[in-house]
Symmetry: C2
Subunit: 210 residues, 2 copies
């Protein structure tokens, strides 16, 4: 996730010119083919942007967190193209709603908004290239090890399901369950219903170097 | 490739303020870790932007053509991060050279330049998401069929080597040669040294739908 704190001038601009919106976890904000009418700058919560495949798999392109916007929405507004993914609220979300027209207008008139948008777009390009890299060159076990390390941060418990990991990594639940079992046998983690406990982070990190 | 014609006002701006440069095919313009000092807007030729892997494979992120710039360079200039790929001239190139400082300055002062940069960045995001999609969900034979159709356009002869196709698709020459042989046996194409001749485009297109 790209960590972007809203600067004071940008926060001021948004607070005085646009409405706030809330959406509970589970809400689908946008689907493939939608015309983007608004851009949301998140104040709280998390929104997952993912591409679905016809066979039921999906891949998470990125998660939008506090202070961020959906770069793909911005991209669709700027190119007047249809949204090519699904945007789903993962954690109860609150955000500023900026109309497509306002997005375009501020790009011409508000340097603080220009900076924010350039930063969003350009950081996302670098992040997407990392994803391309992982998909092109890393085996699924390495991508899974990265996923576990990314999602655990300093904690050892990750509340998740095997299906959810599969949905992030363009895999199936069966394949993810088999790999997690291998990691468990190798002493990297313990598996339980609804969560994964990392017990040897170093060993797991070692996998990502192979 | 994103087809961007330089608008008359942008062309005027560039012609009157920056230098032109030429580089023959084979020139490496940037390597991983480089700090981007300049952005080049191509007037002629083609530059391939690709990520190398340690095992010798590579994947083409995109090709920069006439009227375009390297979005990744723009992104690195805007974020002051190091270049994460290789930029290699594929066809003799000529272009305008804009210093990183000028890129930043014009973003504040020249609406025509802002538009150009926003358009480049946002179109590239959509293109990168298509690449993520292909890598996540399509088998290599389907990606190869798309590659052949993309590179043949209306002609039936594609001047290429199996190694070059492998370099674009994050594969190895051996695997690409085997798949091309299968396509030949199925009557989609003829193989010869230095080129591939498509003889049944419809049959090849059919593969991309599977």
């Amino acid at each position: 996730m790209i960590q972007t704190e809203l600067s004071a001038p940008l926060d001021f601009l948004l607070q005085h010119h646009v409405e706030e919106i809330t959406a509970p976890a589970g809400t689908i904000i946008a689907s493939p083919g939608d015309i983007c009418q608004n851009l949301i700058v998140l104040l709280e919560g998390q929104v997952r942007i993912y591409r679905p495949a016809e066979d039921g798999r999906s891949i998470t392109l990125y998660n939008v967190g506090k202070g961020e916007s959906c770069t793909l929405t911005a991209s669709c507004i700027l190119n007047t193209t249809a949204f090519p993914a699904i945007a789903k609220v993962e954690k109860d979300a609150k955000g500023f709603v900026i109309s497509a027209k306002q997005v375009q207008k501020w790009l011409k008139t508000e340097p603080i908004w220009q900076n924010y948008m350039f930063s969003l777009l350009s950081q996302r390009i670098v992040a997407l290239i990392s994803l391309v890299d992982a998909l092109a060159f890393q085996n699924l076990d390495v991508r899974l090890a990265y996923w576990l390390l990314d999602h655990s941060q300093s904690q050892s418990i990750i509340n998740t399901t095997h299906q959810r990991i599969a949905d992030d990594l363009a895999s199936s639940r069966e394949v993810i369950s088999r790999l997690l079992k291998e990691f468990e046998v190798n002493g990297c983690l313990n598996l339980a219903r609804g969560y994964v406990e990392l017990i040897n982070r170093e060993k797991l990190s070692h996998l990502t170097l192979m």
